[in-house]
């Protein structure tokens, strides 16, 4: 079956991106809930333009590989709206896996760190996107969808765009909470604020793209708590607005670590594919270590608080 002519939804959304940022800026000035710093905004937008350009120029690599595999599919996927809807849900689960890996493996984190490198959380942060695709090979996660389920690569590209546009509007502090059923089912500004938190409580949570149910199922869900405001950014924040540094600083660090003298092949591989923060001598902390230490501190504090009543 000939695929329908699908629009490039990200390109179509560009006017909406610009207008909504202006609206958020004005609303933020009025409500105090959105903060835009000039150079931070400029850096985010340049990263977004870079990502868009890389997508236009190199997108054919990932699309080409998937198109090459498509004739070997085991079944055919339909093009009606019901099939689109089902494909969107399945592809969102694929996104959850990618996003989980993007935080758990340094190979994917070197690109994704870009998106988390701002200490602000506004609509421009949504556009602070990585320059690592397609050469981080994350598109290979779509291979099972093409080969086993027979989803057309163009359909997947379209759905990826829809997912990206969906995730744009949740990068805001202007919207606090949405009605409970929506908060239960969908990724919302509140859930995604928690995802961007560098507080130990919020590290590595809420990986869902459009739906938050994947996190609820997999045990990675963490609600945003009013008593613990989210501190945006990285556990070790960067101090640069240079787009090249923002895009590649983690890759350079991986290169340095993986070529350290006196370590074995296993350690070199762990520096490339292991969790961010892993080190062969234990001198750094992974998100898991930070969380464990924090939990232990919390437990100690709770026990300490209970002591007077026991005496």
């Amino acid at each position: 079956m000939t695929p329908p002519d699908l629009p490039d939804i990200v390109a179509l959304a560009v006017p909406f991106f610009i207008l909504s940022m202006g609206a958020e800026l004005l609303l933020g000035k009025w409500t105090g809930r959105a903060r835009y710093d000039t150079r931070d905004t400029a850096a985010s937008l340049v990263m977004g333009v870079g990502n868009l350009s890389i997508g236009i120029v190199f997108g054919f690599v990932s699309l080409g590989v998937l198109m090459w595999l498509y004739p070997y599919r085991l079944m055919d996927w339909g093009w009606s709206w019901e099939w689109f809807l089902l494909a969107f849900i399945i592809d969102d689960a694929r996104y959850y896996v990618f996003h989980y890996l993007a935080h758990k493996s340094r190979w994917f984190w070197w690109g994704h760190i870009t998106h988390h490198s701002s200490q602000h959380y506004n609509l421009s942060t949504a556009l602070r996107q990585e320059w690592s695709s397609p050469w981080n090979l994350a598109f290979l996660l779509r291979v099972p969808l093409v080969l086993l389920l027979g989803m057309h690569p163009l359909m997947l590209a379209f759905l990826g765009g829809v997912n990206l546009v969906y995730q744009y509007w949740i990068h805001t502090e202007v919207i606090r909470r949405l009605p409970s059923p929506i908060e239960f089912l969908f990724n919302t500004p509140s859930h995604h604020r928690a995802h961007h938190g560098a507080n130990p409580r919020y590290l590595d949570c809420n990986f869902g793209g459009t739906f938050i149910i994947w996190d609820r199922i997999m045990g990675t869900f963490q609600p945003e708590l009013d008593e613990e405001p989210v501190r945006y950014g990285l556990t070790h924040n960067i101090a640069t607005y240079n787009p090249l540094r923002i895009a590649f600083h983690e890759l350079i660090s991986i290169g340095r670590d993986a070529t350290l003298r006196g370590i074995g092949v296993g350690d070199r591989l762990r520096y490339v594919f292991g969790p961010p923060g892993w080190s062969h001598d234990g001198s750094r902390k992974t998100a898991e270590t930070v969380k464990s230490e924090w939990r232990a501190e919390q437990k100690k504090a709770e026990q300490h608080a209970q002591q007077p009543s026991q005496n």
Partner: protein
């Protein structure tokens, strides 16, 4: 969407958003003081206690020591603040300032303005290089 139209939209939209951010007060810088650094430090390590702080000229960068002897550097990013505790570091005199090299591509070598030679020597003597 034709590439030309996309180019025009992006070419006009990006500068417009940056100008709006500037007009909304986005170009102001936080000025560092001991309280600001202590607050940010508490985010990283609630038990950390500041001992000595050297706020450099301009107020946008600072060196500090903690009560337990650890060292750190603070750098304003407009209204935000980046702060690092140093494990491997270099501190050296550079003209009328001190140069901090974290050997981190995400934190390029920074020159902290310290006009007083006496102060520079004091911090160099206290902190480094190791």
């Amino acid at each position: 969407m034709p590439l030309e139209v996309l180019g025009v939209l992006v070419g006009a939209g990006v500068p417009l958003a940056i100008v709006l951010a500037h007009l909304a007060g986005g170009s102001t810088h936080t000025l560092l003081d001991k309280d600001t650094i202590q607050t940010k430090l508490a985010d990283l390590d609630p038990s950390a206690e500041l001992a000595e702080v050297l706020v450099c000229e301009g107020g946008q960068s600072a060196l500090f020591t903690l009560a337990d002897g650890r060292l750190g550097v603070a750098w304003t990013m407009e209204r935000s603040l980046s702060l690092r505790l140093l494990s491997t570091w270099q501190l050296k005199e550079s003209g009328q300032g001190l140069e901090v090299d974290l050997r981190d591509p995400g934190w390029p070598t920074r020159r902290l303005q310290v006009h007083s030679q006496e102060t520079r020597q004091q911090w160099l003597h206290t902190l480094g290089p190791v």
